[in-house]
Amino acid sequence: MARLTMQQAVVEGIAEEMRRDPGVFIMGLDIGRFGGPLNSCKGLWEEFGAARVIDTPISEGGIVGAGVGAALMGKRPIVDIMFLEYLSLVLQQLGCDAGAMHYYSDGRARVPLVVRAKFGVGPYHGHAYDYHAWVAHLPGIKVAMPSNACDAKGMIKAAIRDDNPVLFLEHMGLYHGAREEMPAGDAVVPLGRARVVREGRHATVAAIGAMVRRALLAAETLAKEGIETEVLDLRCTVPLDRAAILASVAKTGRLVVVTEAMKFCGAGAEISALAAEEGFGSLKAPIQRVAAPNVPIPFARNLEKLIIPDENAVAAAVRRAMVA
C-alpha cells in the first residue's frame, strides 16, 4: 500500500470515486493542468480529462451554485473553492439553499454536493480563516474536517457518496505533512463518528482537525504529570457525535474543547453547551474552551503564532480543569 500525505490521500479518494461513478466530477479554479493550489487536484485532469475536471472562472457563487444545480439533476459534483476564506461567497448557495432543499421538497430533492476548501495556519501564509461554524449553524449540510491522511481519504469518499451537501475542510498545516499508510480496499470513514485517539480517565479533550495532534502532544506532557487525558477526534462538526462526547465526559467529568477557529460563537461553543446541558451531572469542573481569540488573524508570523492554540495552551486548559 502506498504511503500518502493528506493532499495525496484526498486526491486518491476522489480518483477512486470518479472511477467508480461516472456521475462524479470536479470543478474549480485552476484545478486542471495547473493541478489546483497546493496540488489540491494533482493528477485528476491527466486521468479524467477536461470534461470531468473542469476549470472555471473566478465565480465562487456561480460554481457552487452550478454544483447545486448539477446535483439536483442527479450528478455528484465536487467543487473546489480553494480556500475556506471564500465561504461567505457561497454561503447562500451551499448553506441556506442547498441545505434546505431536501427538507423543503419533502424529501424529493437531493443535493449530493461536496465543497472542498483549504484553511488553517501552516507553511502557506494567508487564507487561514476557519469560518465553518456558519455552515454548522445551518440545517441540512454536513461539515467534515479530517485530522490525518487516512481519515482524509475515507472521509472524502464518504462525502462524495453522501446524498447531502458536505463541506470538506483540508488543513494546510497537515496537507503536505506526514505520509501515512492507506488502508487496503474501499475504506470509507462514515461522517459523524468521532474517534477516541487516546484513552484517559481524568479529562476529555475534544479536538478537531490540526488540533488533534496538539491535544495528543499535550496529553503526553500531562501524562508525565499523572494526568490521563482522553483525546477525542471529532472528525465532523455536523453530524456531531454527541454520544461520543457525552460518554467521554461521563467517564472523565472534565471537558476541554479545542478548535482553531475564533472562540466567540465558534463550534467549540456548541460542544461546550452540549455538555453543560446534557452532561452536567458528570461535570466536576468548568468546561474550558481553547480557541483563537476573536481578532482578525494577524499577518506577522510571530503574532499569528500567538493566537493559534498550541499544545501548551491545551495542557494549561486541562490543568485548569483539574484544579477546579
Binding site: G62, G65, G69, L72, M73, C96, D97, Y103, D106
Partner: protein, 317 residues
C-alpha cells in the same frame, strides 16, 4: 421555430390560466405576486419544453410554470398556505418554489439570484449527459442586478452550456423603475459575455415562444447559451394588495392597452384559429378548472405535526 396552430391555442390557454390564477389567488391573498400583463412572457417561456429539460422559473409566474410542466393545480394551490396536500406537504411555499419532480428548480429561500446559477449547473449536467437536454432560467429585471446573474451567465458562456436565460422584464422591481435598477439595457449585456442577445416583445406570446425555442434549439445543438430580454410590464401591484402609488396611472393604462391576452386572442380570431364562441368556451373552461382546483385546495387539510420531521433534514442513503 414558429408556433404551430395547436401551439398557438395552447399558448393562449396557458396565458388564460395564468391570468385566472391571479384573479382567484389575488382575491384570497394580498401577499400574492400577480403576473398581470406579463402572461405573454410566462406562457411563451414555459410552454414547449421537453421532459428532461430543467426549468428554473422566475417567482412571479411560478405556479403557471409548474402547471405548464404538468403539475397538479390543486396541489400547487394547496401550497400557497402550506396545506398537507401540497407537493411539499406544507413544508414550503408553492408560490416561489415548484416541485423538483417536475424538473423545476424553484427558490428554496427568499433570495433572488442564485437560481440562475442552479440553472447553469442543470445545464452542465445536461451537457455531461449529452442527450440534448437544456436548462431554461427566467428571472426579473431587478434580479438581473444581482451578481449571481453575472456569474451564472458568464459561467455558462465560458463552458458553453445548453442554457437559456430569459429576463421577464416588467420594467420594475417592487417600486424601483428600470432606470433605478440597471444602467443600459439588459439585452446589451449579452455582448459582454460573447453570447447572442435578443430583445423581444414580451406582450407577444408567439414572439416570446419563438425566441425561447430558438435559443433552446441552439442550446440543444451544443452551441451554447443565449440571453433573451422579454420586455413587458407589470400591470398589477408588486403584491395583490399593493396600490402601486409610486408610478403614474397613465403609464399603467397605456400598457393595459397592450394586453398580451387580448392581442393574442385577436390574432387567433383574425387567423381563424379561434372564433368568438370557442374563445369564450376556453375562458370558461379555464375559469372552471382553476376555480375548482382552488376550492378543493382551500378545503384541504393543514399538515399534522408529523410533517415537521425534525429528523428528516438530511437525506438518507
Amino acid at each position: 421555430m414558429a408556433a404551430g396552430k395547436e401551439d398557438r391555442i395552447a399558448l393562449h390557454r396557458l396565458m388564460l390560466v395564468t391570468r385566472e390564477l391571479d384573479r382567484v389567488i389575488g382575491a384570497a391573498d394580498g401577499h400574492w405576486h400577480p403576473a398581470l400583463g406579463e402572461e405573454g412572457v410566462v406562457a411563451g417561456c414555459y410552454y414547449g419544453l421537453l421532459e428532461g429539460d430543467a426549468l428554473v422559473p422566475h417567482y412571479r409566474g411560478m405556479i403557471a410554470a409548474c402547471y405548464a410542466r404538468g403539475g397538479d393545480l390543486r396541489r400547487l394551490l394547496a401550497g400557497l398556505d402550506g396545506r398537507a396536500t401540497s407537493y411539499s406537504r406544507g413544508r414550503y411555499r408553492s408560490d416561489v418554489c415548484g416541485p423538483i419532480e417536475l424538473g423545476i428548480i424553484g427558490l428554496y429561500s427568499g433570495a433572488l439570484g442564485p437560481t440562475l446559477e442552479y440553472a447553469a449547473g442543470a445545464a452542465l449536467a445536461a451537457k455531461l449527459d449529452a442527450k440534448g437536454a437544456v436548462a431554461v432560467a427566467v428571472f426579473g429585471d431587478g434580479t438581473a442586478s444581482r451578481g449571481n446573474f453575472h456569474e451564472a451567465v458568464n459561467l455558462a458562456a465560458v463552458l458553453k452550456l445548453p442554457a437559456v436565460f430569459v429576463c421577464q422584464n416588467n420594467q420594475i422591481a417592487i417600486s424601483t423603475p428600470a432606470q433605478g435598477e440597471h444602467g443600459g439595457r439588459i439585452v446589451d449585456r449579452a455582448a459582454g459575455f460573447g453570447i447572442p442577445g435578443q430583445l423581444v416583445d414580451g406582450n407577444d406570446v408567439v414572439a416570446v415562444h419563438a425566441a425561447v425555442q430558438g435559443a433552446v434549439a441552439r442550446a440543444r445543438r451544443g452551441e451554447g447559451p443565449s440571453l433573451i430580454d422579454a420586455l413587458t410590464y407589470r400591470v398589477g401591484g408588486h403584491m395583490a394588495a399593493d396600490p402601486g402609488a409610486y408610478r403614474s396611472a397613465e403609464e399603467v393604462e397605456q400598457w393595459k392597452q397592450r394586453d398580451p391576452i387580448a392581442l393574442h386572442e385577436q390574432r387567433l380570431l383574425a387567423e381563424g384559429l379561434l372564433d368568438a364562441a370557442r374563445a369564450a368556451a376556453l375562458r370558461e373552461a379555464v375559469a372552471a378548472e382553476v376555480g375548482a382546483a382552488m376550492k378543493a385546495a382551500q378545503s384541504d387539510p393543514l399538515p399534522g405535526p408529523d410533517v415537521l420531521g425534525l429528523d428528516r433534514v438530511f437525506a438518507e442513503a
